[in-house]
């Protein structure tokens, strides 16, 4: 049925293309490209040119500085904790939301979006209010000598909170578009819940997960606001890479600041590349 229709459309398109006049197309394209160059390409180029201003040797030296290495290590630890936790949570939440109906479903969807709608500073302050010296749990924590604020646990909590929606938000629409048909087919054929999940559900959302993880990871490594509030900026101990960049910059150590910043820029470029591959695959999987 659809084949002849398609030929017809193709034919019509071949003869007279329905499109804007050439000047309009040129103007629109130019505006878009200039905008991109100004706000995206130029800053990126600036980061790298500043980083390498005094040669590759200085660049490497700046990265080898102990405080910077500590910041890189802490950032990696933070991402290594926050991303897997949010992966487990995100898959479970989106599975529940997309495949079942239950009371409180809309509330859950709203809550997942919460970290997107609050300013990161607020996200950080929440933890100060809870764990701070004057906070709810402050006296208890002090009595038991547990350090959360201005220590690694606080940074982990703030990062997990901020990156909480990324994976779930990516998976919910994907799983909803796929429906329950394949899972039902598997169950009718005798598959258990776990078999259905690992053999049917998971392969179908594989690329959605990769997409979500890469975005979640980029945010976990790059988060500044919330982490800044809870970190306490202790050099070599509670500084993540973005915080280290700020400190170096405030000390007029531009080359080192941009060298460390270039690490985050690299992360952004890799994220972008993996993201486009994942995006393409997700779209493929959305087709019923």
């Amino acid at each position: 049925m659809s084949a002849p229709t398609r030929t017809l459309t193709a034919h019509a398109n071949g003869n007279h293309r329905i499109t804007e006049p050439a000047p309009v197309r040129w103007v629109l394209t130019t505006v878009a490209l200039v905008f991109l160059a100004l706000f995206l390409a130029l800053p990126l180029a600036a980061v790298f040119s500043q980083a390498f201003e005094k040669g590759f040797g200085t660049y490497l030296l700046a990265l080898k500085e102990p405080d910077t290495l500590a910041a890189v290590k802490l950032t990696l630890i933070t991402a290594a904790v926050a991303v897997p936790l949010n992966l487990v949570f995100g898959v479970m939440a989106s599975w529940a939301i997309a495949k079942f109906s239950f009371p409180g479903k809309n509330l859950l969807i709203t809550l997942i979006d919460l970290p997107f709608s609050v300013s990161p500073i607020i996200s950080g302050l929440i933890y100060v209010l809870i764990f701070g010296r004057q906070g709810w749990l402050g006296p208890f924590l002090e009595a038991h000598d547990i350090k959360i604020l201005f220590a690694v646990p606080g940074i982990l909590l703030a990062t997990i909170f901020v990156t909480f929606p990324f994976i779930a938000r990516e998976l919910i629409p994907l799983m909803e578009s796929q429906g329950r048909d394949e899972e039902e087919a598997a169950m009718v054929l005798g598959a258990s819940g776990l078999q259905t999940f690992f053999r049917i559900t998971l392969p179908n959302i594989k690329w959605g997960i990769i997409y979500g993880v890469i975005l979640c990871n980029a945010r976990a490594m790059g988060e500044f606001g919330a982490v800044s509030v809870v970190s306490g900026h202790i050099r070599g101990i509670t500084n993540t890479v973005p915080l280290q960049v700020e400190i170096l910059y405030n000390e007029y150590n531009y080359t080192a600041a941009f060298a460390v910043a270039s690490l985050l820029a690299f992360l952004a470029l890799i994220t972008l590349a993996v993201k486009s591959v994942a995006e393409w695959n997700v779209r493929e999987n959305m087709e019923p």
Binding site: D181, E184, M187, L189, G190, A191, Q195, R199, P203
Partner: protein, 344 residues
């Protein structure tokens, strides 16, 4: 295996999907659940499969109550309207899925599984397709693979939800004939849902006509077509004309009522140039529509507001050589009368 459906009720919010539905399906039969959308036919099928649970009522397989047993344990084959093939698996892996998820003790050996796939692919006439992915198959092929996958676990009951609904007209006709032959070959008790009366009439041993969550009539295709229980069944199985009026002399088996509605199928309307008897009505040809092998003619009855639709074969139409605007006589060959209070 026989299926016994005992006063099933199912409610979705305030919508009654099924209201006290009872039906018994003898072993080995091919039954069609026929009805418009929203009539509850798919819900009933899903309840039989165990994909949906009824609010009340029982489902018995071979006299055994299965209402509470999980869909996994019911040993049914289910074919979905949109195939629901596992996109990331080859045809081979799709077909054997039901065997590979079994616990080790009951799982057949690799060799047995391979033989089984070969046999099933032969049955669905898709030999040599084992290595393909669903995306590389046409709609009709996908649905046959879905059927092979359902049959691989040797189900005692085969359930098909609008199996040909997503296919184009020609493939649909081919596949339903093929399904009929397949059923004659393997004789598994089968229930399929359809809204296409032609499909039900052609394929099924028995047709269950459903409407608004109730069963209107269940019987052989001949029974429901020739002796519709009510105007809904009559109307759903073919185009009909309505005549409002009083019955002057009730025939045998027809209700005597002051107000009644007569129903005439459009292919039971005869068109003539001369008056046949007192049942002939003078009418004007308003519109002629050629529909492949048949021709549909809309006529307006003189001295009344009503229109009649007649369906003639091309031969008859050509012999009559009807012209638009012409005066002719129409005569119903077969009339069915139902009391007026019945709501369609």
């Amino acid at each position: 295996m026989s299926i016994e459906i005992e006063s099933i009720n199912k409610q979705f919010g305030s919508f009654t999907a099924l209201g006290d539905v009872s039906l018994s399906i003898p072993s080995g039969e091919l039954v069609a659940l026929l009805g418009p959308s929203g009539s509850g036919k798919t819900t009933l099928l899903r309840i039989i499969a165990g994909l949906e649970s009824p609010d009340s009522g029982r489902i018995l397989f071979n006299g055994e109550d299965t209402t509470e047993s999980h869909v996994r344990e019911r040993k049914v084959g289910f074919v979905f309207q949109h195939y629901a093939l596992f996109k990331h698996m080859t045809v081979f892996d799709n077909v054997v899925f039901g065997l590979t998820v079994r616990p080790k003790e009951t799982r057949p050996s690799k060799g047995e599984i391979r033989d089984k796939v070969t046999e099933l692919l032969r049955l669905v006439q898709l030999e040599g397709m084992a290595k393909r992915y669903p995306a590389q198959l046409s709609g009709g092929q996908r649905q046959r693979i879905a059927l092979a996958r359902a049959l691989a676990v040797e189900p005692q009951v085969l359930l098909l939800d609008e199996p040909f609904g997503a296919l184009d007209a020609q493939v649909r006709t081919e596949l339903r004939r093929w399904l009929r032959r397949l059923h004659d070959e393997i004789h598994v008790t089968s229930v399929f849902v359809t809204h296409d009366q032609e499909e039900a009439l052609e394929v099924a041993d028995r047709i269950v006509v459903m409407n608004k969550g109730r069963i209107e009539q269940a019987g052989t295709p001949d029974q429901v077509y020739e002796h519709p229980a009510n105007p809904f069944v009559l109307n759903f199985l073919g185009n009909v004309n309505l005549f409002h009026g009083r019955i002057q002399s009730a025939g045998e088996g027809q209700p005597e009522a002051d107000n009644s509605v007569s129903y005439v199928r459009s292919h039971d309307v005869e068109i003539d140039r001369s008056q046949h008897d007192s049942s002939s009505l003078k009418a004007e040809v308003k519109h002629i529509q050629k529909l492949g092998p048949s021709v549909r003619i809309t006529l307006s009855i003189n001295d009344s507001e009503s229109f009649v639709e007649a369906e003639l074969t091309r031969d008859v139409f050509q012999n009559l050589d009807l012209q638009q605007g012409e005066q002719v006589y129409v005569r119903p060959r077969q009339v069915r009368v139902f009391a007026e209070d019945y709501q369609i």
